[in-house]
């Protein structure tokens, strides 16, 4: 986890670049080891309740990682996350029922179509400034929800009743009933999550991420310097939407059910809150937030005041810890290290460059 949770720092000096590069390969091995060990968690934790709780947290985490990436790299907050959770979930069901595709193909088609949709929508919305962007994506989710519940779409989407799916064939040798079992579904969710984390981390560290952050800092100056600022942002939006779509596909695979609720304002709210609570400044932050959020949902859900607590959490976290839980912990850790060695300035400088 450590390798991922580290902020994607830009190399601020040649020496630092060399240090990072020589440390990178060993970190990669460590990360692969963590991924490999994680697959076998169900062998140790056998309680289906806790497994499915963590799986829910991981699925939410995938979506949160996507929007966290977009927020950190571009400064754009996607309010309508639900659009890219619900759309691929419905597409998996539609591809299975209407096109008669096998499950593998249906999943592939759902991801592709959702990503393509993101390109089309993104071409319009990434032109907008952050605030109109937030509202436009919110409107997009609401629009998809209206489409899904249209009377004319009822034979396809099931309207307000939702779409119960019957999969054809298997997903990577797993049948529909097996996918519903937490212990069997765990590796699928785990590997998807790790892949998504790696993707977001690499994209953030690459030159691409640097361009995005520089554009966020001063778009005009980037344009003067001869950079195209539109295409990288579009790619970032598409990437974020793809990551969120993965979470939608996971939901469809696990529950074999899609409903208009998935496209609701509130579903997007969950991922958004999770990302903010965890902190968007690091790749792993949104995941931490999602796990905390799912735990909180379980703890407070019984009291029936879930939304109330969610709202209070959002207000408190943003007012008191604008960087989220991980950002706060990292800040504490850096201050500690600075007090110990007096060498925290370089790290802070690098961190500052990454913002």
């Amino acid at each position: 986890m450590n390798a991922v949770a580290a902020p994607p720092s830009t190399a601020s000096s040649p020496t630092r670049a060399r240090v990072v590069r020589s440390g990178a390969s060993s970190r990669w091995w460590l990360w692969l080891l963590v991924v490999a060990i994680g697959v076998f968690v169900p062998k140790v934790v056998t309680s289906p309740f806790y497994l499915s709780l963590v799986i829910n947290g991981m699925i939410l985490g995938v979506a949160a990682v996507g929007i966290g990436f977009l927020m950190h790299q571009c400064g754009l907050v996607m309010f309508g996350v639900a659009a890219f959770i619900g759309l691929p979930a419905y597409l998996v069901g539609l591809a299975s029922a209407q096109l008669g595709l096998g499950l593998n193909m249906a999943v592939l088609l759902a991801l592709l179509a959702s990503t393509l949709f993101a390109v089309l929508v993104g071409a319009l919305v990434v032109r907008a400034r952050p605030l109109p962007f937030a509202m436009l994506t919110l409107a997009l989710a609401q629009m998809l929800k209206s489409v899904a519940t249209l009377q004319a779409m009822r034979p396809l989407t099931g309207g307000d009743d939702g779409l119960a799916m019957t999969f054809n064939g298997t997903f990577l040798t797993l049948t529909q009933s097996e996918l519903a079992k937490p212990a069997v579904f765990w590796p699928v969710a785990w590997i998807a999550l790790c892949a998504v984390l790696t993707l977001a981390w690499c994209a953030g560290r690459a030159r691409f991420g640097q361009i995005l952050r520089a554009t966020q800092a001063n778009e005009e100056r980037m344009r003067f310097s001869g950079f195209d600022t539109y295409v990288p942002r579009l790619i970032a939006f598409t990437l974020a939407a793809f990551i969120v779509s993965v979470s939608g596909v996971l939901i469809a695979l696990n529950s074999a059910f899609a409903s208009a609720e998935l496209l609701d304002f509130a579903t997007g709210g969950h991922a958004l809150v999770a990302m903010l609570v965890g902190g968007g400044g690091t790749v792993g932050g949104p995941l931490v937030g999602a796990l905390l959020y799912t735990w909180g949902q379980d703890a407070f859900g019984a009291t029936g005041h879930l939304e109330l607590f969610t709202g209070i959490a959002v207000v408190a976290v943003i007012a008191a810890f604008p960087q989220g839980a991980t950002g706060f912990v990292l800040q504490l850790w850096r201050r500690e290290r600075k007090a110990d060695h007096g060498g925290g300035d370089a790290a802070r400088g690098a961190d500052h460059a990454a913002r």
Partner: protein
Amino acid sequence: MDLSQLFNVAQLANALALASLLTILASGLALIFGLRDAMNFGHGAFYMLGAYLGYSVSNRLSFWAALIVVPLLLALVGAVFELAVLRPLQKRSRMDVALITFGLALVIGPAIYKVWGTAPLSVEAPPALAGSVQLLGTMYPVYRLFLIAVGFGACVALALWLKYTRSGMHTRAVSQQPHIARMMGVNTDRLSLLVVCLGTGFAGLAGVLAGPYLSVDPGMGASILISCLIVVVVGGLGSIGGAIAAAVVYGFIQVIGTVLFPSLAVLAPYLLLFVVLLWRPQGFGRGRVA
């Protein structure tokens, strides 16, 4: 498809009724945005609070009392909102404030369900406004005419205030050039207390008016918030004139869509949003670019 339906007086009036409700809400939203530079995602929740308070007050006293009392109560809520949320956070980024108001909306909603329950409630129009009236050959509910009158009356009052009073002039100045207005000696804190109270009071007014027109139910805040955001973006962020024009256009598109393509009407507002943003990204009005 009978095109003459489009020019039906009743349809026209329906469009105006929806538009007047949206105008009241969107102008409040635009006012707060102009002055505090904050998009209030809690506006839908304030409107819902207004509607539920309106339900209670009209049951205890009368609808007319609700029409006076509830906006005042909501203005009080607005004062708290300004002093406890917007003012301490004015140095923070726009997005932070937007997210906090979003969080507040999540808090206000369940608090309302706790008090009034989640079942839809209905508010009766007062006897004087019940029934229908002959309007150029068709029967039309009196209450909707009243709604149109109050809605546009409120907008005219707002426009007059903005144009002819000192505080209105200051509000316009701050909306356009906050720094320069402050340098010229406008006390933005005192002004924004007034303007935020006005904005939330308008949300309360819209809530009370919506009672007999739509039903009072738990989903009303979220659904109208989206419409309002569309109106404000289409009208140009922070531009009050633009918001009024956009609300009227929104009302017409919604109602005409319902007549022409009943199944696709729900999509019309979103299409409007996308078309306007492609054609004129800054919206109708001369608002500050956000």
